[in-house]
């Protein structure tokens, strides 16, 4: 924008950015979990307890057999959804609380988000594995294709990241919308695809459901979990378009916001 200098090479920039993100990850780990080791546990325990709770409730549902009452279906799906929601909610206010960091010119706004998201991704992948083992231990079946499950997790993170960048920029510009975003993430739950599979829906409703990007991600997840046993349908190109567009809008938004940041 208004800064030009003897331009360092792209490789130099990439090295600097990786160094900065690494430093931010360590800092974020230290602050979020303090020097008390208990914090590292909550990163895994909190989502696990919630996921196990949700999984068991659905398992106990009377009259539901097969996949509709299965622990793995809800527990694993819930881990993904919860991280999706958390990443978006944490994005609001992420910039104002870190403005002082911008005194260090190597730190760019997106780095703040990438660092957080790396931690969330690592934690979630760990929990995903654990939940899969718990599911097997509870009498469930082995996943049909772990790679598909991991792909679903990766897509969910990229989508959440794009949205988090947008939310981070928007909440810096308009403080009032934080509560609104909180509300939206809750209202999004029933249509997200976490609690249904496409083939359960009547055809007219399916037509609308496929507009929701996370529905495709959950279908991919279930294909990975259950394989051919149930009918799944997903369009990964559609999800990729969402990821691309949210990233572009989010990064552009951060660029606009960067020019307006003022310290008190």
């Amino acid at each position: 924008m208004s800064d030009t200098a003897a331009r360092p090479s792209l490789a130099d920039c990439a090295r600097t950015q990786l160094r900065v993100i690494g430093a931010l990850v360590i800092r974020e780990m230290h602050t979020r979990f303090g020097r008390h080791r208990f914090g590292y546990l909550t990163l895994f325990l909190e989502p696990m307890i919630l996921a196990i709770g949700v999984g068991i409730i659905h398992q106990l549902h009377k009259g539901e057999r097969g996949v509709r009452g299965s622990f793995e279906m809800y527990a694993i799906g819930y881990v993904l959804f919860m991280k999706f929601r958390q990443m978006i909610m944490r994005a609001s206010g992420a910039i104002p609380s870190n403005v002082a960091l911008l005194h260090h010119r190597q730190i760019a706004l997106p780095d703040l988000f990438f660092a957080r998201h790396l931690i969330e991704t690592a934690a979630c992948t760990g929990v995903l594995f654990l939940m899969t083992f718990v599911g097997i231990a509870m009498g469930g079946e082995y996943p049909d294709s772990p790679m598909k499950m991991l792909a679903a997790a990766a897509l969910m993170f990229l989508l959440a990241q794009g949205m988090a960048l947008m939310v981070g920029a928007a909440t810096t510009e308009w403080h009032g919308i934080e509560r609104f975003i909180h509300l939206m993430t809750y209202l999004f739950l029933p249509i997200s695809g976490l609690f249904f599979m496409l083939y359960w829906l009547p055809p007219w409703l399916q037509e609308y459901a496929v507009w929701v990007p996370t529905v495709h991600i959950f279908e991919l997840l279930r294909d990975g979990q259950f394989g051919e046993k149930y009918w799944t349908q997903y369009d990964l190109l559609y999800v990729a378009k969402w990821i691309l567009v949210t990233h572009l809008i989010g990064l552009a938004g951060l660029r606009v916001v960067r020019g307006r940041i003022g310290l008190e």
Binding site: R19, V20, A23, I26, R27, H30, I261
Partner: protein, 212 residues
Amino acid sequence: MALDLIDVHKSYPMNHGRKHVLRGVNASFGRGERVGILGRNGSGKSTLVRVLSGVEVPTRGRIRRSMSISWPIGMAAGFLTSLSGADNCRFIARIYGKPSQAVVDYVESFAELGEYLRMPVGTYSSGMRSRLGLAISLAIEFDCFLVDEALSVGDTKFGRAFAARLANAGLIIVTHSPSQVRQLCTRAAVMDQGTLTFYEDIDEALATYNSL
């Protein structure tokens, strides 16, 4: 190596219209130069510091940087009170790509924090905090150090470390105190109503400043 400001404007949105703080600042700071910038309260000094350090982006105009500039010396920029002083040092070291242990050792050598270096910054007294801030600021080698407001240098441990750093680095002091400009700078400028005027002669700058 230089830092150039070309017609830099900065304005902030107000309830009615915008407040124009910098109105076309032009400046060129060369490598190793020691420049004092004098300004009364409300002249746009703090805004100039933030634009120089890069925290804020100009509304209009350009900044060309071909040398590294410190964050305002002594400022606890991005320090977290929940982390220990040493952890904060390591964070800064990582950001700037310096060996962590060297930065911690440097800070340990003259911040005089003792055991507290391994305690959360939240437990520090204000004096300890400012010693930590000063020590970390000087632990990184910059081409040019940025100083916001007068520092009590003198013949203290910090003063000597500061002088050692300045032996091969430039300095930009933004202050309302003429005495330090006279003591440390070779060139001076006066900030008034959002514009910056340079004077080759320090006495001339001080005379102008005193007549404001």
